[in-house]
Amino acid sequence: MRRHPGKWKVLRVIVSGLALLWIGALFLDIHNRIPEAWYLPLRYFQIVPAMQLMLAAGGGALLAFSILMLSAALFGRYYCSFLCPLGAMQDIMGFFRRKWTHRKRYKMMPLNRGWRYGSLLLFVFLILIGSGAAIGLMDPYSHAGRIVSQLAVNPAILFNNIIAWMLESQRLYAVPPVPAARFQVAPFLLATTLFALLWVLVWRNGRIYCNTFCPVGAGLGILASRSLFRIRFDQEACTACGLCAADCKAGCIDFRQKTIDASRCVMCMNCLTSCKEGGIRYTLGRKQRTRAFSGERRQVMKMLGIAPVLPLAAPLSAPGPGERSCAISPPGSGSHAHLHRLCTACQLCVQACPSHVLQPSFLAYGLKGAFQPVLDPDAGYCNFDCVRCTEVCPTGALQPVTIDEKHRLQLGKAKFLFDYCVVTQEYKNCGACSEHCPTKAVNMVPWKGKLYIPEVNESLCVGCGACEHACPTDPLSIYVEGQEVHGLADLPESRKEEQVETPVLEEFPF
């Protein structure tokens, strides 16, 4: 019964395996060692990031996005089975379905137009209103990113640490241990729910998610429904045995009618392997009408009129002492508005951030920024000489920033709360905030006797959160207030000065 998989299926398995490994490696780079260049292809072969980047920057991304769309019209939905990380995850689930159950066959599925084009319309609507967070909740790449971030990063860290501890017991320090990633309830629940849902859906109906809920699948489906190359029946060779349909994860083959709904075909190429008669082929071949499209188009038009409106809530409660009223958005985002428009909350920057100051938000920005990255100085502080997040962002939500620009990029401003400080309350010197400040915007100035208290020069502050991270009091006596739009900090005096190179002492002072 076992057949040799055809060349197309072998190619699909290899390419999608590599794509998933690649993307997985980027999200699991717990030592922050993968060079920037390895992140760049994401912008060009992941559809939603390419689309967002095109909206942000045009240029190369516009070309990349056009090529992705054009190629779908020419070759079909190859993205869904060759490049999509969520698709690859579902194929792995499908592999286990085959291994672990007796249910080998897939059934032909009726197309659920309401869900499918409803989700596409909603998606178009979200693009029009520019809600990156909501777009991200529909984007298969961002879903995959959140699943890996929430479900695979900590196991990877545990694995790394077991190796590290084994080596360290032998006094070998080649693999350092890594602190566990912070547990964030909302992103974890989101990722877990989707992951569980996918298992259920794949178990029941294969790739039904891709043809029911995924707007990328729906959009590509419209383009692919009349694609030049597609999987077609050879009407003469086909014996209507039904083996192809039984192996069709998309449930889009009607072997009795000898038709394939190309708009739903995810191009897994399984059917090419299952057919023993040469009755089904991926070809340029003869025109074959699919009945689906014209009817669908009418339905799409109808639905445009009733596009739903999403309530976009603002932050909920009033802040207490040491709690910011405005969230600190990552470097390169420029403003909250820019971040909210373009970020799909894939969590790549969160994983790439060496100091772990970047964390997935939940309501820090309000719902309109749900799951988008936010600086959390409790978890770390933004390294003065680091622009890693801006290098890895695939969507253009975080624009490139040079180190020199970063040194003056004002993400927020430090606020000192006199009434909670160790020095003012207990008359003991502390200065942890000022120690860590990269610009000395927080400086210790004489107060009473030999005591020094922090003084904030807001014009020098870059809002990195180092002072807040270091502050030992509870509630905090210094914290960073974010700003809706990033600013430009002044250059500290000593950065304008020259270094003195003549020795200052002639004699021993003792």
Binding site: N429, E435, K440, Q499, F508
Partner: protein, 291 residues
């Protein structure tokens, strides 16, 4: 105790280095050379590294690697100096030499960008991490009022010789960061120190353990905006090095180099008052070497 036992120099050291004085100096200060060359002079005057490191011993070297900054910023100990110290330890027969710091900035960036990781590894030392609480063990500090317990890096407990290699810097809340202050980099719970009396805690910690040797890098010092510094303009070239078994004495001499009276620095004053070391530079046997 280790330091006390090492005061008696073996005969062959005297032979190897010729004119070693009958009693080693309390403190050696060198001026006018490069860090490595000044250290060569200084350690020779102290009786060579063999006076501190015996064959087969484990040595831990604690430079200041607190910040993700390049060497010319003088936020961290000079990497060349650390490398040379490692070499002397290995040459003296050390079985293992460990170098670490509980950094303030991200630890791996500090290790790399300070240049210390490369310098130490090239000379045969192991750079060990200190960024997780699991590396630290709770110790009790005897006979002190404030810092009764604290968590110390296990490698300090497991090593035979502890060499402290601070850099002389301005510090925004404690005036200066030198040798005693550098010991904050072997403990985990520094926030508690800040929260409950920084200067008192720094001085108290000496009751638990004093380093066997303190080598102060005062080649390029941070004159302002310490301890992190903002730019190279915060530094001044002083071309000096101080070495002593007594960390308090080393701090006192270094404070003078900075231009501050040692007794004006609260934790130095407290440490001397509690008998952890000497402040009376004028009564010490000091060797001053110019290059």
């Amino acid at each position: 105790m280790v330091a006390g036992g090492l005061m008696v120099l073996p005969g062959w050291t005297r032979l190897a280095f010729g004119a070693t004085p009958a009693t080693a100096p309390d403190l050696v200060a060198v001026m006018g050379g490069e860090p490595e060359a000044m250290f060569e002079k200084a350690i020779q005057a102290m009786g060579g590294m063999q006076a501190f490191v015996k064959k087969g011993q484990k040595v831990v070297i604690k430079p200041n690697i607190g910040w993700d900054a390049s060497p010319e910023r003088a936020a961290n100990t000079n990497p060349g100096l650390v490398g040379r110290i490692v070499k002397h330890c290995i040459d003296a027969g050390a079985r293992e030499v460990y170098v670490f710091d509980h950094t303030c900035d991200k630890w791996d960036k500090c290790y790399i960008n300070s240049g210390i990781e490369k310098a130490a590894k090239d000379r045969g030392a192991k750079m060990i991490p200190a960024h997780l609480e699991s590396y630290y063990q709770e110790v009790s500090v005897p006979g002190v009022k404030l810092l009764k317990t604290t968590k110390v890096h296990e490698i300090i407990l497991q090593s035979d010789v502890f060499i402290n290699v601070p850099i002389l810097k301005h510090h925004s809340s404690t005036e200066l960061s030198i040798g005693i202050k550098n010991l904050m980099g072997i403990v985990w719970d520094r926030g508690w120190w800040h929260r409950n009396g920084l200067n008192r805690a720094i001085a108290d910690f000496l009751a638990w353990r004093k380093p066997d040797l303190t080598i102060v890098d005062a080649y390029r010092i941070m004159k302002k905006n310490g301890p992190r510094g903002v730019s190279v303009a915060d530094t001044a070239l002083t071309k000096m090095l101080v070495i002593s078994r007594d960390v308090v004495a080393a701090d006192a001499a270094s404070a003078k180099i900075f231009g501050t009276e040692p007794s004006e620095v609260e934790y130095i004053r407290l440490a001397a008052a509690d008998g952890f070391g000497r402040l009376d530079l004028d009564k010490m046997n000091i060797q001053r070497l110019k290059m």
